[in-house]
Amino acid sequence: MDCRKVVEKLVRHDPAGRPEEAVERHLARCSDCRSAYEELRAVDATVREALVFEHPPDFWEDFYQGVKSRLKARQI
């Protein structure tokens, strides 16, 4: 498998799983593709970290009250 094909497969691969075996074999011997893969994993990690739901402390304050008010006003 050539580098272009490997990078194409890496860009499409599911971040929750491992790349397919042929790709992993290629990564073991190609430092350019390995660094492309590391970069990709860093991008995926940045997305996951940035969108972790760590809400402000007062997020749930008056939450249910807000739902009730909207229900009364039928504000949907």
């Binding site: 971040p15 991008v43 940035a50 969108l51 249910y64 807000g66």
Partner: protein, 220 residues
Amino acid sequence: MLKDDGLDPRKEEENGPNGRFSKTGDGFAEDPQVLALIRRVKEKDEAAFKELVERYKTQVAGLAFKMVGDYADAKDISQIVFVKTFYNLKRFDPKKKFSTWLFRITVNAAIDYWRRYKKHKHEDLEEAETRPAEAGLTPEATYFRKDATERIKKALEVLSPKQRSIFVLRDMEGLDISEVATIVNMPQVTVRWYLHRARIQLRGELARKLKAAGASKKKA
């Protein structure tokens, strides 16, 4: 279009229990406690509705936040979702998974909200920097988080609402493809196609933005 808030029972008839909605088809049994709660809400029991909100609010708000990238918007959307849930609960099929149905309402509400308000809600990095530090984070970590979040929000904007929903449900929430397909009301093969396109677009866009950010930091 992801317009319908309810799961259409006709779709299951069309696709069969082993079709694309198999995860929530005949083989699935919802938690009896949840079913009992839903029954009580249908009977207008307010305590039961409050309990339902408490039980699912974190999942709903978390999904809404990942869709729109803003806590205030995520709170608004979540409240709207529970109002819609209350009014549409009679349409929920108890043979299906409740959270799947709820996630569909959430995704649609987030898309509607995003379409309605995105023109007025663009916030630049300078504004983000003036927000108070997040609890438990150093100022540097808070800055990095805000900086990265803003870049990711902008990168997510290059995705269509369908792409964004599918990407968030699969890659952020970790749902399996069959459940994502049910939520967005599309065949699994279409979901996979949208997911591939979203990954390529988002990864490319973000790699460019993060590289540019790194270069400008080096210059400074």
